[in-house]
């Protein structure tokens, strides 16, 4: 039985804990949470055999853990990774996205974790969604030829007035660190490295952080694209991602629930080819929210079993932090 520790019992910690508990041979055996109030609540509903700790060092000291899920506020991620590494235990780490609050901090996470055996993975679950995997496959196979230009957005109605949580505090929050990382990760996965960036950011409701960002990106491949993200757009029940790619042989629209290949001149008599998520076998042992959360956690354990590196490794995740910082730097002064 694998013994798992959860650091941070917010909504993502609770979600991963639920999935872990439902996987064969895995159990949440320890929880690290500083907020006493949350611990007192958890004790009344979580299994009796779970132990609770106020700091990570004593959890590692007292529990023989195989893996730890870190789902705290962003700024705590890297100090916790350093703390675990200092304990010199070979524990695999799963960190919620984004890896860090800055590119420097993400680099420190990568360097530190290099001294630790085990799997180090970041929760970019969209990469485990069959829709985005299908889109990536189509791009790589040249279904739209060479990508020339794209427009992409990630919108939500998460923040429609001034917020009070860490998500809207300087250094730990803002739309670029909170909502945009998934889209940025997908764009980097689809199109490779970015050569240059120009951007604007604006705050609409928040005092300390940006609520909106528009970035123009030039890739090493010559591809250019526009990326817009905002968490203050009304009418979005859940966050939505949309990526429209224009290639020299056709166009493609990718959203969370479908991929659409648009007909071009040569295929003028054809209907657009739309593939929905229902097309794919997305059955998982336990379903909470979207199946990709279970898929990513299963991938994490699979990598531990095989000793292999996950696609969403720390070093891949660090690229997201690098681009976020570049967008912020280019845009500085435009808030």
């Amino acid at each position: 039985m694998r013994k798992i520790g959860l650091v941070g019992l917010g909504k993502m910690g609770v979600l991963h804990g639920a999935i872990v508990n439902a996987l064969p041979d895995c159990r949440v055996s320890a929880v690290c949470e500083r907020e006493k109030f949350i611990v007192n609540m958890a004790k009344k509903v979580l299994p009796n055999d779970v132990s609770y700790y106020g700091d990570c060092a004593s959890m590692i000291e007292n529990e023989a853990l195989d893996a730890i899920f870190i789902a705290t506020s962003i700024r705590q991620h890297v100090p916790i990774i350093v703390e675990i590494t200092n304990a010199q235990r070979d524990i695999s780490l799963f960190v919620e996205k984004p890896l860090a609050e800055s590119a420097d901090s993400a680099r420190l996470a990568c360097e530190t974790a290099a001294n630790l055996h085990g799997v180090h993975m970041v929760g970019f679950q969209k990469r485990y969604s069959p829709i985005y995997r299908h889109a990536k496959k189509l791009i790589d196979e040249g279904a739209i030829g060479k990508p020339l230009y794209f427009t992409a957005h990630s919108y939500s109605s998460d923040l429609l007035r001034e917020g009070k949580s860490w998500r809207t505090k300087k250094g730990t929050g803002g739309v670029l660190l909170d909502l945009a990382p998934h889209l940025i990760d997908l764009i980097l996965w689809f199109f490779g490295d970015v050569k240059s960036v120009s951007a604007i950011t604006r705050s609409l409701y928040s005092r300390e952080v940006e609520d909106l960002a528009n970035a123009s990106l030039v890739f090493e491949s010559g591809l250019t694209g526009q990326m817009n993200t905002c968490w203050s757009i009304r009418g979005y029940r859940v966050p939505e991602i949309s990526i429209e790619i224009y290639g020299d042989k056709g166009n493609m629209l990718v959203e969370d629930d479908m991929v659409k290949l648009e007909p071009t001149e040569s295929t003028v008599n054809q209907e657009p080819q739309v593939v929905y998520k229902q097309t794919f076998d997305t059955q998982v042992p336990f379903l909470m929210d979207q199946p990709e959360y279970t898929q990513e956690d299963m991938t994490f354990f699979d990598c531990i079993n095989r000793g292999s590196k996950p696609a969403t490794s720390f070093s891949e995740a660090a690229k997201v932090n690098v681009l976020i910082d570049r967008i912020k730097e280019t845009a500085s002064g435009t808030i």
Partner: protein, 306 residues
């Protein structure tokens, strides 16, 4: 051969949910308003729907008031509220954090209930009791449903049900069942996307699997049937006298009505819940569903461990 007992209209389209396309859900929402939604529900009712299943989304309190004033609730038509409105609280958590969300929740509770809280002890100790909090919250939400309405069942939202399964929190399930039965004299129900695990959980925890409603996906392609279509079908024989209502029979609009009906017909189901967004669609769907002759196998009670 019996006709389905529970043929319900669901509220997905009315609150912007689509399992096929989020973009489409937003477009649907733009052409609907409370008046139009009530028309759709009336059309469902007059074409065979026996009830309305809904989350306690803010839009639904307006819909219920309108259904009440237009006489639909006085007819042979039942309500199946699903609690809590999880998505709403996720947003509040993003804005205010967990503590702020709990504060907001307590603020919603009426003055009377807040007075009870203070009598029971320090507000913090009550707030640290998730089971007690859930009870207060459920009572508050159920008390807001129009008095005239017939309650077919009160269902626990899938997020809470499935978390309870995974964390083996039988006290959540037990307390929910007792509260709905004893205080509200209604049938307790659960929405789950992990049906087989749900059935296993009741057996392992020795919870009585009697007179409950379970709402869970059943469709030809196995969409959201966890861990598999075969496993969910097999678990249907282990539900005692509880009623299983199939959801996602159209797999979010991916399947057509005929194939959906053909698939659910032979299963041991008490009915189905389907979301529709227009009067015409309501007419088609419920005319079809009311005529399905299901083949509910002879139900047997689970052996009771005393």
């Amino acid at each position: 051969m019996t006709l389905f007992e529970n043929i319900l209209i669901g509220d997905n389209a009315f609150i912007g949910v689509s399992h096929l396309s989020n973009a489409r859900a937003r477009q649907t929402l733009q052409r609907l308003n409370v008046e139009k939604i009530v028309e759709v529900i009336r059309a469902a009712s007059s074409n065979g729907a026996t009830g309305y299943s809904f989350t306690v989304h803010p839009t639904n309190s307006q819909i219920l008031a309108k259904l009440d004033s237009s006489g639909v609730l006085a007819q042979d038509f039942s309500l199946y509220p699903i609690l809590p409105y999880a998505a709403g609280y996720v947003r509040t958590m993003n804005e205010k954090g967990l503590l702020g969300t709990l504060g907001e929740l307590l603020n919603q509770v009426s003055m009377v209930d807040r007075a009870k809280l203070l009598v029971r002890g320090a507000a913090t100790s009550v707030a640290e009791d998730p089971i007690g909090l859930m009870k207060i919250y459920l009572d508050y939400e159920i008390s807001r449903i129009p008095k005239r309405a017939k309650i077919g069942g009160v269902l626990l939202h899938e997020v809470i049900t499935d978390l309870a399964l995974s964390y083996r929190a039988s006290n959540i399930v037990q307390s929910f069942i007792e509260n709905i039965r004893n205080k509200w004299h209604a049938t307790p129900g659960f929405v789950t996307r992990n049906f087989s695990r749900f059935v296993d959980f009741f057996e392992q925890m020795k919870l009585p699997f009697a007179d409950l409603i379970v709402m869970t996906p059943f469709n030809r392609i196995g969409f959201q049937m966890t861990p598999s279509k075969q496993s969910c079908e097999a678990s249907l024989s282990r539900v005692g006298n509880s009623k299983v209502i199939a959801m996602s029979i159209l797999a979010g609009g991916y399947l057509n009505l005929d194939e959906a009906a053909e698939y659910i017909r032979p299963l041991n189901l008490s009915g189905a819940v389907v979301g529709v967004s227009s009067v015409e669609h309501a007419r088609q769907v419920f005319t079809k569903l009311r005529t399905i002759e299901g083949q509910r196998s002879k139900r047997t009670n689970l052996p009771q461990d005393d």
